[in-house]
């Protein structure tokens, strides 16, 4: 019957246990996966590294905000992509309640801000400056917004403060909130056909860069306190009159119990650090080359042994 069990996936077979760490528990390390490709592939990459060390690994699909509560309770062992902008708040809230901790940063930096696909530049050549964007606001007008331009912000629960920025900087834009990331892509995808100019909320690293080349709008540079002290930033009377930090962190988080239960795996986790191009490559395997996440992870590990073998010390 061994045939059945080994047929689990090609990737796992390729990386059958190399060495066993006696001290790690044989219980499975539970790794959460969310609904964007880079995170799914990265989780499988790390999972396969753990498996190569002789650990058992299991993946569970979860909501990317609710996951911190699960890490805290130990239902899920770790989280590989904690974005400063998107999940910072949920992460800090869970951190305060206790049960999980910061397991170090990736090299990669994250950025989230107003963004436009390249074709938009034809209609509004002054970009990426925000003043130029505001001057061509009429280009972004739709049936519902009248003369004003339309800016599509992320879902309200992402708390992106698009509305506040429009007011603080006196921009001629109406802010509309999308309900999900998929809704944002649908808008860009619909605009792509006839190269309609659009400005939407977007972030990096993600798959969209590979599909639609584009740029972030350059707002007044982020200064600490821009979200707390009205005096900071160009408008002395308003908050959120700056762009978002251009170099946000990308962290790993771990359940407090992980260190004792799987010391070897925990040690590797703290060393793991991916760069922006590495993350983009992982996403590309799935989004452009149409691989399954497990295959993409195996492929990536095969192509980049020098990167990860340093972490495991093998």
């Amino acid at each position: 019957m061994n045939k059945f069990t080994t047929a689990l996936s090609a990737g796992v077979v390729a990386l059958m246990p190399l060495a066993s760490f006696a001290e790690d528990s044989s219980d499975p390390i539970v790794i959460p996966i969310h609904n964007w490709s880079s995170q799914i592939v990265m989780s499988h990459v790390v999972g396969q590294i753990f498996e190569s060390m002789g650990n058992n690994v299991e993946f569970v699909t979860t909501d990317s905000q609710a996951v911190y509560e699960s890490v805290r309770l130990g239902d899920v062992t770790l989280e590989l992509e904690v974005w400063e902008g998107a999940f910072g708040a949920s992460f800090r809230a869970a951190l305060e309640k206790g049960g999980l901790h910061d397991a170090g940063d990736h090299d990669a930096v994250t950025r989230e801000d107003w963004w436009y696909p390249m074709w938009t530049k034809d209609a509004c050549p002054g970009l990426p400056s925000w003043e130029a964007l505001n001057d061509c606001a009429a280009v972004f007008a739709t049936a519902e917004t009248g003369d004003k331009g339309r800016y599509l912000d992320g879902p309200v629960d992402w708390l992106k403060h698009g509305q506040e920025r429009v007011e603080a900087l006196g921009m001629d834009f109406v802010v509309v909130n999308a309900g999900s990331a998929a809704a944002l892509w649908a808008e860009i995808g619909a605009a792509e056909a006839d190269k309609k100019p659009v400005v939407v909320f977007n972030w990096t690293p993600n798959f969209a860069e590979a599909v639609w080349p584009g740029e972030f709008v350059e707002f007044p540079e982020w200064v600490d306190g821009c979200d707390k002290d009205p005096k900071v930033g160009p408008n002395p009377d308003a908050l959120y009159d700056c762009g978002n930090p251009a170099k946000g962190y990308l962290k790993k988080a771990a359940w407090d119990g992980m260190k004792d239960k799987w010391p070897a795996a925990y040690d590797v986790l703290t060393k793991i650090s991916f760069t922006n191009p590495q993350i983009a490559e992982m996403a590309k395997f799935v989004d452009v080359d149409e691989m399954e996440p497990e295959e993409a992870a195996a492929e990536w590990l095969e192509q980049n042994p020098e990167v990860w073998q340093g972490w495991t010390g093998s």
């Binding site: 019957m1 609710a66 892509w185």
Partner: protein
Amino acid sequence: MADAAEVLASEAKIGGISRTLGAQILVGIAVVLTILHYVGLLPEALFRLPETMVPPFAVWLDVIFNFVKDDLGLLALTRFLTEGLQWLLDVTANLLFGKRRWPNIGPIPWTAVAAVAGVIGYHLGGWRMAFLGAGTFIWTALIGQWKIAMETMSVLVVAAPLAFFIGLGLGILAWKKPWFNRAIKPVLSVLQTLPFFTYLLPAVIFFKVGPTAGAVATTIYAIPPMILMTTLGLQKVSPEVVEAGNMSGCTKWQLLRHVYLPSARTEILVGVNQVIMLCLAMVVLTAFIGMPGLGAKLLAMMGSFKLGRSFEIGVTIVLLAVMLDRMSKAWVVKQPEHFEKGTPWWKRNQTLVLAVGAFVFFLLVSKVIPEAQTLGRKQNFSQGKELDNLIKGFLNIDIVKATTGFLRAFVNVQILIPFRNFLLSIPTPAFILLVTAFALYLGGRKQAIYALIFFCLVALSGWWDRSVITLYSVISAVAIAMLIGLPLGIWAARTEKWSKRILLVCDTAQTFPSFVYLIPAIMLFGITDIAVIFSILIFAMVPLTRYTIEGLRTVPLEMTEAADMAGATRMQKLMKVQLPLALPTMAVGFNQAIMFAFFMVIIAAFIGTQDLGQELQRTLAGTDLGKNFVLGICVSLMALTFDLTILKWSSDRKQALGLGD
């Protein structure tokens, strides 16, 4: 038709005032209040309930939840149950897709599963069903979705039987003990109208994120119809059969097992069918709380804008649903076979023998030919990219663009947005009175009182504006659905052939995961109210069309013949005879359309809305159980108001027309 309405209305007088008059008075007061508000004479407190008067329901509920959860130890109990459930799920997961858990013998080869499905299909409904059964699984394997489909099935094969047994047990209890029946009826009504997001959060908190929470949420969602059908079936068992059972000296248990349950077989199997369909409806939604499989993959595909691949997953879900639906329906119709004494066992259990034979055969084949065991993604026939281009190409046709551009500029800006602003401008008390008047006119005094209480509670919840926006989407979508769905149903009902075709389309539209067409809706209309209403519309049209067809096709033949003999034109026959007689059935469809719309409006939060759905979606991220519950109850209360009123009207009409129930 008008006569009947008058008869009904005059029959039900309230203290000398007819229902019509009562409703008119209420509407009058509401209009006065609204006008007062427009001219600026209405005090602010009467326009909207002041914030300070809103009781902190969410906080109270949180306190109660925390007490039950921690102090009474419910969490410890459910976590204990989770262990057992986890074990069960591990077993099915091992068998179906080879998760490394006890008994470590899976995964079962796809060819074996397909073969067994074919044999069962043949047993239940001949070659067509065999083709459907085997074909569904072959499609799934060839398209490269075998593993994810089995991940989904591994949870469903636990959740569906669980829902069946719990539902059957509670149904029997409700039939035995009238007090229990009375107690459980309102609970079931609420459960059936509660938005699914409200099921998900408690499931996560009490049963751990992952397949266990998915299984629990699915089970709870699927139980209510099973209870109702069981009770219904048992109540219908004729006394003669019971008498016969008693005379042959049955014990109580034997009576239940060998007399009641077999006699109620049809209803119970209809319940089984419902359980299966509801389980499949939850496949995508439970992905939010860690259910692996088709739903999770679908969400991931949508997250990276892969329309074609998500469409294919949608097709798989529809195929699975249609297959299980047709098979369970065939099982309802199929009468138990009886054999003469002395028939050899293999003849009696022919299907079983065949199924086991096919299973073992393919198990052995798969040992020799690896493709019969598993098909990797690389050997599949997925047309994801081609479909992507097809969909994008369609959306880029000039006529399509011109039409949607017009709809967006005209319907959205000129009709929908003003309508929404108008609804929001009505003072809260006036709005409540309007709804009460509606319930009074159609339902009666009891329904009016319910409507009043329910909407007052919604106002007290502090989510009034969002509730009104939710209601606005529902009303607009159902109104447009009627404009399209009713003529379609009337037209299709004229011939048997088209009735069948349209009903198949209805089945497909109902089981196709709604998430998949949210994306094209956005691409067509942008993130606007129109996209939201469009996506609700598709869902709401299904019951309207279905019940119109069924209502018209079940009009007694004598009636239409009488109309023909009286020399009625086709139009006269339709307007004066068929439609009035079909109206009660159509009202049931209308009611379901509203329920479906309430269901879908919450999902539409993924497009981008400002209603209750958006807030509910937000609570999913946290642990805000109290708020989650308050929002869910708001949706439920509004839906129940319509449910109670319209169903009452429908049954009144049926009685008045002498159609029976």
